[in-house]
Amino acid sequence: MNGTALAAVPAIVMRGITKRFPGVVALDDVSLEVAAGELHAICGENGAGKSTLMKILSGVQRPDAGDLEVHGRPVRFGGTREAEQAGIAIIHQELALVDELPVAANVFLGRERRTALGLVDDRTQADATARLLADLDCTVDPWARTGALRVGDQQLVEIAKALSVNASIVVMDEPTSALTEAESARLERTIARLRARGTTILYISHKMDEVFRLADRITVLRDGRHVRTVDRVATTPREVTGWMVGRDIAGHDGARRRLRGDRVLEVRDLTLPWPGHARGRRLDGVSFDLHAGEILGVAGLMGAGRTELLETIFGASEPTWTGSIRLAGRPVRFTHPSEACRAGVAMVTEDRKRLGLFPDLDVAANVSLCSLTKALRNGLLSRSAEEHLVSGPIRATGVKAPGPHAAVTGLSGGNQQKCIIGRWLLTEPRVLLLDDPTRGVDVGAKAELYTLIDGLCRDGLAVLLTSSELPELLALADRIIVLSEGRLTATFDRQEANEQAIMEAATGGAPRVDGREAQVPT
């Protein structure tokens, strides 16, 4: 088969794909054509059906109706292996690697190379893996334990795994959601290399800058339906975002000045040791002030110490830190989150599913959890008192739920996050620590969260906010501090902050090669 023949036949044709789950139509009569060799972006809010469509394409799920053609041949995948044989590889949003196995074993998992005796041929696998990784500009040792790698390198291992099946079609499901800027840039070089080989790429993302930098064509899904497919050059990010949410959303107007109140939190020389790690310290001499009615943004790459900073203030880290933290002038040293909670410090954690949400408790119980004593009548929890208690924060944060006793797992990511913010508002905090609060939240809900956070701050709350998205910090924060390798490398006022300056401070000026941590100068 030569290149022109390939280009004439679309790589993928989907016609009338429909998939129902109990109570939900995930995909409703979706048709899509992907030309061979193109990079086709699929955009949509969470729950729009992007991932389901890709799971059908890669054989993970079977459609209830509809036809699928790959390179002109009708196909019907009974499982992922059949899709692989048809040349389709998928790089999942959640990494599907076995932490305890070496890199090479992960790359060939389920398709192990064998020696003449039928034993696993580790050497051949390692050599092949090394070649694949070298192609990706990655110098990870094929024998290294996968769990010991940084997330960005794990992502590349996942990509190497996809390439090892000689895929002509690669599906990438939000590949940069866990990557730093440098790692994202490396991924983009990899994508360019794949495209040079003629690989067709389906790229799922809701980051508009990426989509508009990479894609040839863009397909927008909303509520399981195909909204439209357009050439990238014929549209704008704002237009695409509008199609995704079904309305034109205005960018958050965070430029309105807030009134800064008294100093509430005073952190001096905060240092958190990191036993057994080359860097030695997770946090190294961090000092800053936080005032009432102020949003202080914390910028930094993954692993810079953002979460550690918030957890140390909240009493959730190992109690081995040195330095001083003063809350409203009084020195504090929380050894357990419950003490922070009582003192008026609240923390919304980074990983909502793992560290925030209680899937077995209903909406009301998720919101009331930290303030249950307020729902007691005669020493026992009262259903009506609890409903009354949570109705306030549910209204204030704008949670959309069928009722206070609905299952929290049935809510969208944005509404779950509002429940958790509501939980902490009930504790009447003075300081609110928000660790990447809009991660995994769709575009519409992000804007609502921004308005909510802005409103809380105007009511006099002191907010410490981290985010993996710089535009978010630039839009929301009054001031931004930048962490790099655990050290505070810069403080910006809103006026002087821009992405370029923050990234320079976040990378500490030290060159970052191959996505590895730059060595700390000692």
């Binding site: 419950s338 209903d362 609905a406 299952a407």
Partner: protein, 407 residues
């Protein structure tokens, strides 16, 4: 998504699965009444009721403890050994305080009985504390920590029994007879364990659904890391759960001493921890934590005892012969039924691939052998062949059905 919540707070008293369990209990009783050729449910209804009530209450008491531990995301494998230790501590305390009366099978007096019972409950508190300490500070997995005490406590109880009898009686012994009228009364008045069980169930239910502590137990089991970050003192919640688990087992241990008029550390309560876990699981607890109810466990315990009683009535053997087999089958069937809807929706097959193929003769032989032993070889053969054919048809249907839906 279903609109009802599976966790604590604001749910109806009985959930759908629990109604099913209740219906299954009634069905099992009716079936036994009809199928039992001795008609014991008609002839001696009170005797049968008493048997089932006593056994279900004894099992239920420490199954409630296991339920709390399981909802909190842990597991307590040591309940059977705790039962043995509790009985031994009670008997040795009484022996030490009143050696002459104990040796002469005479009443020891209420003060001595009370001392024995309190010592047992104290032992439960200490064992629960030990578990919580091992789990929270040494960070042993609960399975390992309670496996260690499962093995260790029984041996400890025996050693305690032997050294105490050596000190206070002429001969060293691995069991102590308990003849005090208090324990006789507990044995003869079946309403005592039933009332204790009912009271304990109500208290446990109130604690789990209507107190802050209970909500924290659910939160801890559902998501431990999030619970800590929500300011819950998770270590203290675990302490409560393990102490509650061990103290309910200690309480049950006292009833076993009454029932059997002896403290016998070697065999008393052996394997009972698994029955307690089974009752909780049949009642809807999830071993991954966060999910479970008191009504569910109560019904689970009753259901297990009703089925065990049914089998012993229908095939006229000692209940203990088939007890383990029945518990095993009931657990598998109950959990399978709870998941079968989800399996069908997810397109999962019961008998897929080569594993499914091998499972057909495995299940057929197993079913046939059980029936052959319980009833007759002929019935066993019929069951085996029947199961083989039915499973074969099921597999064919599944294969064809998946092929059809895919084409």
């Amino acid at each position: 998504m279903p609109s009802h919540s599976r966790g604590a707070g604001g749910a109806p008293f009985l959930r759908p699965g629990e109604w099913t369990l209740l219906a299954a209990i009634v069905a099992a009783v009716v079936f036994t009444a009809l199928a039992d050729s001795n008609h014991s449910y008609w002839q001696r209804p009170l005797d049968s009721l008493r048997d089932i009530a006593r056994n279900a209450a004894l099992l239920g008491i420490f199954a409630l403890g296991s339920t709390v531990v399981i909802i909190a995301g842990g597991i307590d494998l040591s309940a059977g050994s705790m039962i043995a230790l509790s009985g031994t501590v009670c008997a040795t305390t009484m022996l030490a305080l009143a050696p002459a009366e104990m040796a002469g099978f005479k009443p020891v007096g209420p003060a001595v009985v009370a001392a024995g019972c309190l010592a047992s409950l104290l032992a439960g508190f200490l064992v629960g504390t030990l578990h919580a300490w091992l789990v929270t500070t040494i960070r042993l997995p609960p399975f390992i920590a309670t496996l260690a005490t499962l093995v260790g406590l029984r041996s400890f109880a025996r050693a305690l029994c032997e050294s105490t009898t050596a000190a206070f009686t002429p001969t060293k012994s691995a069991l102590i007879n308990v003849a005090d009228p208090f324990f006789k009364a507990v044995r003869d008045n079946v309403w005592v364990p039933v009332a204790v069980f009912a009271l304990l169930a109500v208290i446990t239910w109130l604690v789990l659904t209507r107190t802050v502590l209970g909500r924290h137990v659910h939160a801890l089991g559902g998501n431990e890391a999030a619970a800590r970050l929500a300011g819950i003192r998770t270590d203290n919640v675990k302490w409560f759960a393990y102490v509650f688990g061990a103290m309910t087992a200690a309480l049950a241990g006292l009833f076993y001493v009454g029932n059997e008029s002896v403290a016998a550390p070697v065999n008393q309560g052996r394997g009972h921890e698994l029955n307690a876990i089974a009752a909780a699981v049949v009642g809807g607890c999830s071993l991954s934590g966060g999910v479970g109810t008191v009504p569910g466990t109560v019904l689970g315990a009753v259901f297990l005892r009703v089925v065990i009683d049914a089998v012993s009535k229908i095939i006229k053997t000692g209940a203990d012969v088939y007890e383990g087999l029945i518990v095993g089958i009931v657990v598998v069937v109950a959990v399978t039924l709870a998941q079968i809807g989800q399996m069908a929706r997810g397109g999962r097959r019961l008998l897929p691939g080569p594993l499914g193929l091998c499972a057909i003769p495995t299940l057929a032989v197993l079913g046939g052998a059980v029936v052959a032993m319980m009833a007759s070889p002929r019935a066993g053969a019929a069951t085996g062949i029947g199961a083989f054919v039915l499973l074969g048809l099921l597999r064919r249907w599944e294969t064809r059905h998946t092929a059809v839906s895919a084409s």
